[in-house]
């Protein structure tokens, strides 16, 4: 069974893929005519905030057949744990995939917080464990630990979180954390530990993933590169006696015909930030640097970034986020998703802007066209909230 997640933007949203710099949903950009959540009525704020829109995206994705949604975390975003706590009782089957960096929380606190959320939602919390891209973003957060050490800390954090998730006292005299007699009350200990979607592309990341990842989460890359990456993680995991599953974060631009899909990009192209065509990566993120290697310079038009059929390396030009995604007709995109499953993909996080309308579109036009077995959360009683 393939879990297909959606995404909820935590930095506002844009009204159309054709307007790369417009940010009229939420208040992450100055208010302009047409801005919503907050909107204006009679010259005043209408009282809605961006979390109201996030709630609507969650409900749209739930109704459209997604099992849940990723809540991303960067310095200038809203906080995913906070959003999950606010929206816990407003959806029924929607799983909150909370992105967080283990360095910023105490592991036993994280266990208590997570188990409480599990109890409030009927087990609908999933983790996207990120270890950080390094550079100025990392020290902004108050994190000065170096790249490979951060992965060691992530591993120690997850050891401690899982160790404390029980009723017996747990100790860990760790390098990063000092844990003494930690345990949970029985009602919380009875909750399931959230599934871990683990991000990171470096050797240190893959080694840590081998021990702790339920799903190894990667941005989409050209199909030719994925089998190698999957094989490497599989080998690391085997050393720990684990069989990892693979999840892909895939941007989608799907329209009834391929021509219509490319036409959307042609319309947006004049407004893109051309400095991003050089694919410079900041920080020490290995993932961003990998994307650069697939691009043939110079890039003069959108189709120069189509590195394989329907695989386009220009999504970061249209909105913040990953480089690669799928562009094509509903049939083509569904077929590519099928191929990704055949290559070994076990779960997807799909996304398109605007998130609300596109959840309905992909849910009603693309998902019905895939042939792989996907989890139908709406009929699953396993995860329905009590």
């Amino acid at each position: 069974m393939v879990d297909v997640y959606w995404r909820i933007g935590t930095h506002g949203d844009q009204p159309s893929v054709r307007r790369p710099h417009a940010q009229t949903r939420g208040d992450w950009a100055p208010h302009e005519p047409g801005s919503i959540t907050p909107g204006r009525r009679g010259g005043r704020d209408d009282g809605y905030t961006y979390v109201d829109h996030m709630a609507d995206v969650a409900k749209a994705a739930e109704s459209a057949g997604f099992v849940g949604g990723l809540l991303p975390s960067f310095p200038f975003t809203d906080d995913p744990f906070t959003t999950a706590a606010l929206l816990a009782r407003e959806t029924r089957t929607f799983r909150f995939m909370v992105a967080y960096q283990p360095g910023f929380l105490d592991p036993v606190h994280a266990a208590r917080l997570s188990a409480s959320l599990q109890r409030a939602t009927g087990g609908r919390l999933t983790y996207n464990v990120i270890t950080g891209g390094g550079g100025p973003q990392q020290t902004w957060w108050g994190d000065t630990v170096a790249h490979d050490d951060r992965y060691a800390r992530t591993a120690e954090f997850l050891d401690a979180l899982k160790g404390a998730w029980g009723t017996e006292p747990y100790d860990l005299d760790g390098r990063f954390f000092d844990v003494r007699g930690a345990h949970l009350p029985s009602e919380l200990a009875a909750q399931p530990v959230p599934e871990v979607y683990f991000s990171g592309s470096s050797p240190a990341a893959i080694e840590t993933a081998g021990k702790h990842a339920d799903y190894y989460l990667s941005w989409l890359e050209p199909f030719s590169a994925l089998p190698d990456k999957f094989r490497q993680v599989r080998e690391e995991s085997a050393a720990y006696g684990r069989t990892p599953r693979f999840a892909l974060r895939v941007e989608i631009l799907a329209r009834p015909t391929e021509e219509e899909a490319w036409a959307e990009i042609e319309r947006a192209w004049p407004a893109i930030d051309t400095s991003k065509l050089s694919f410079d990566a900041t920080g020490d993120s290995v993932g961003a640097a990998r994307a650069r290697g697939f691009i043939k310079q110079p890039v003069t038009g959108p189709r120069d970034l189509e590195v394989e059929p329907n695989v386009w390396a220009g999504f970061h030009l249209l909105r913040g986020g990953p480089v690669f995604g799928l562009v094509g007709s509903y049939d083509q995109v569904a077929q590519r998703l099928d191929e990704l499953v055949a290559l070994g993909t076990d779960a997807f996080i799909l996304a398109a802007v605007p998130h609300l309308e596109e959840a309905y579109r992909i849910g009603s036009e693309v998902l019905p066209r895939v042939t792989f077995d996907r989890t139908n959360s709406l009929t699953s009683t396993l995860r329905s909230a009590s």
Binding site: D27, T82, R89, H109, W141, G142, D178, R180, P185
Partner: protein
């Protein structure tokens, strides 16, 4: 000055009703505080119960007036992340989040370097509050501390310009008062004696730093229309004559509330009028915040809202009146 009156939320299952999910049971309690006109609800730090961040989110999302006091241990997260969490709450709830960071409460875990004694816990809390407020109020912020290091920090874009949560601190020793004078907005004591004994010294220390710290008190309550009813209730429950300290109003101070399952052991027993009198006496000593612990929570919150608050708050006074259109909930 008008008192801010809070009630405390449950972190554990109290009714043992198998058919009622604990989050629903708790929702009844914060709805009670909302409609009965209380100023806020407290989400306590309880290692034996549910985690307070989750309580805060649920309470703020489903109310429009009450504040939520987030009690957490300073070891729970790094100060920048703590501020990020707070910023989202403030953005989405019209600034209705308040903070109660705990310093010397028990914690089974912490990030290295470890704090090992009260002094090193207070040093960590000082850094925590300096950084969380620092990144909140400045577009660029750096601090190289013993416990935390921030370089190029600072909130911008939608994270900037939000009200920092009002900081509630506790404790009565010198370390506690020093931290409060420097970082606290409200200092919450647990007895009237502490308020009288330590309150003036704290306010003096704060003044010396060019700051003001409001006094608060956290107590349990057993209040009925007449003192006879209140005492009768207590006698019926305890089966003995409880050890009561008489107060000028005719109400009593009782240190035995833990036997009724309260988390605040000390509190007042008396009639509505007597208890209102005691609260007025506290207010005259500078107390502006009263955190109540009552059982059963829902029913007693209604009782306080309808019978006690009208005596505590003169008709003309009203506490904060947020603009309905900006309360951020529907």
């Amino acid at each position: 000055m008008s008192l801010r009156v809070w009630t405390t939320l449950a972190t554990r299952d109290e009714r043992d009703w198998g058919h009622l999910p604990p989050s629903e049971e708790r929702a009844h309690a914060f709805r009670a505080a909302e409609v009965a006109g209380l100023d806020g609800v407290v989400a306590p730090y309880d290692l034996g119960g549910e985690e307070s961040t989750v309580l805060v989110g649920d309470a703020l999302r489903h109310t429009r007036w009450v504040h939520a006091l987030h009690e957490f241990h300073v070891a729970a997260f790094n100060p920048v992340y703590a501020a990020k969490v707070a910023a989202s709450y403030q953005r989405f709830t019209a600034g209705r989040l308040d903070w109660a960071p705990l310093v010397t409460a028990a914690t089974p875990s912490q990030r290295r370097p470890s704090s090992t004694d009260a002094a090193s816990w207070y040093a960590r809390a000082d850094e925590f509050l300096t950084i969380s407020r620092g990144v909140w109020n400045h577009e660029t912020f750096d601090l190289e501390g013993t416990y935390y290091q921030v370089k190029g920090g600072g909130f911008r874009e939608a994270l900037a310009g939000l009200p920092f949560p009002r900081v509630h601190l506790t404790g009565s020793d010198d370390d506690a008062l020093r931290l409060s004078a420097k970082h606290g907005d409200v200092h919450v004591f647990t007895t009237a004696h502490e308020v009288a004994e330590r309150g003036p010294a704290l306010q003096e220390q704060a003044r010396a730093l060019g700051r003001a710290v409001e006094l608060g008190i956290r107590l349990s309550l057993l209040v009925r229309e007449t003192v006879g009813e209140a005492l009768g209730e207590l006698a019926a429950e305890t089966g003995a004559s409880p050890d009561l300290v008489p107060l000028p109003s005719g109400a009593s101070w009782w240190d035995g509330f833990a036997t009724r399952g309260h988390s605040s052991p000390g509190g007042l027993v008396g009639s509505y009028a007597q208890v209102a009198d005691e609260l007025a006496r506290l207010a005259s000593q500078g107390v502006g915040t009263v955190i109540l612990d009552v059982r059963p929570r829902v029913e007693e919150t209604y009782r306080i809202g309808e019978h006690l608050l009208p005596l505590v708050r003169p008709a003309s006074s009203s506490t904060s009146t947020p603009d309905l259109e900006t309360t951020g909930v529907r």
